[in-house]
Subunit: 260 residues, 2 copies
């Protein structure tokens, strides 16, 4: 039995999320259907992590155990020929039997895009959160930086008895202004060993309170330290979020054909 | 009678183009309907220039003569409340009676976005042209630079007996690599006093031949000098193109509320 890793990109707009559900169009479901059409195998595909409805991915990773003999490039082309245009396989490679898309991952990178123009940019409306009013970007960047390091992120996730271990290590949390189609786009980039449910979106919702002057940077720090979900801001909309990359220990995944 | 200028942004994907046609959903038609709903006036709206089906705009300009007493901000909000979400009014201002969105314009800026990743980025598929294979960006930038200055652009437009004056002044033609959602995005920016029909798209189609090594930079220069449409490359797809800005003589249009 081979173990195959897939690198995926998708537009989350018309998916109910990454994970298979009883009803609706999921990334996992679409991928498993295309896999069966290509290989005649009915297989369960494992993703590096769940993305909510509306959340996009540029560098999602999946793994699948299979007896197919197709080489990686044939798998990429064969799946893309059978997948809808809002879900693409960017690369495939064979991995060792112990590789698991979720358990082996050591770091995830997310980007949240904000459109701070007075009127939203129509061409970007499905991938960027439009916010009204002025934002203090310097304070937002300061608040983000507080998150770097190892902390208990209980305040920034769904309060649930299931979430017992809420300590995560944030490798990087920064703000960048980018220019794509004019106007002001703000990218919030966060990278951590792993993320709790809704964690990026609650961080963004809380950082936006700081940006609007409704929460000071030191109050933001107290939210982190206090660990109370209700002290944090609202969960920011899903459609601004993109899973950018998933990292594995060196040598575990060697993508074949992806351009540098 | 007041003369009012409107600053528009739209996602061109679901429009048949900017200009009203007998059938289909045009930017002009949607705007005229919203104008009538807001003011009860049936008016003809003038755009700075035509954009084809699928072409987007970030800074399109329209003008309209009206007896409405609404202040500019009320017009912006009132129209946006009545317009579909893929067409937004970013700003409005009163202009002098001699202002005409098309005739008064002295410069147009366009951006063409290219996705040079092996597999297209799904979230960007409606606004970026995906091209396969490697591109020589340095040669593409060199070819673009040849276009700067005043030239006869007959080779880069639709061959038609109607197009008699084909000399235009290209203020700027450059290539930039930008980073939005990972991967390689290439922006081709061109700015000229005015553009001929399909001019940006034929330029892009020809510059892509240079990028792929199928035309040398000196052959590109000969295409410009020869003035023969058939020597140039194919017309690049509409959906990669965005009208970024329209410029007027200083003082003619003073947008009120647009963020810097």
């Amino acid at each position: 039995m081979r173990n195959i890793a897939l690198l995926l990109a998708y537009d989350g707009t018309d998916f109910i999320g990454s994970q298979w559900q009883n009803q609706g169009r999921s990334v996992q479901g679409a991928l498993e259907e295309a896999w069966e059409a290509l290989t005649q195998e009915q297989k369960r595909i494992t993703l590096s992590g769940r993305t909510d409805a509306g959340v996009h991915a540029y560098g999602q990773v999946a793994s699948i155990r299979s007896t197919t003999r197709h080489p990686p490039l044939t798998i990429v082309r064969g799946l893309n020929a059978r997948l809808p245009e809002d879900l693409r396989v960017q690369d495939a490679c064979e991995v060792t039997p112990d590789f698991h898309a979720r358990h082996s991952a050591i770091r995830r990178d997310y980007r949240y895009l904000i459109d701070a123009n007075m009127v939203p940019l129509p061409a970007l409306r499905h991938m960027v959160l439009h916010v009204e009013g002025r934002l203090d970007l310097a304070h937002m960047a300061e608040a983000l930086q507080i998150l770097e390091g190892t902390h208990d992120f209980a305040a920034f996730t769904v309060q649930s008895p299931d979430q017992k271990r809420t300590v995560r290590t944030m490798h990087c949390a920064k703000l960048t202004e980018i220019e794509l189609l004019g106007g002001r786009l703000i990218a919030l980039d966060v990278a951590a060993n792993a993320f709790l449910q809704h964690m990026v979106r609650v961080i963004v919702g809380t950082v936006l309170l700081v940006g609007r002057g409704r929460m000071t940077v030191s109050a933001f720090q107290q939210v982190l330290e206090g660990g109370e979900r209700k002290a944090a801001g609202p969960t920011a909309a899903a459609h601004g979020l993109t899973l950018m990359a998933v990292h594995y220990p060196p040598g575990l995944v060697r993508w074949e054909s992806r351009q540098a």
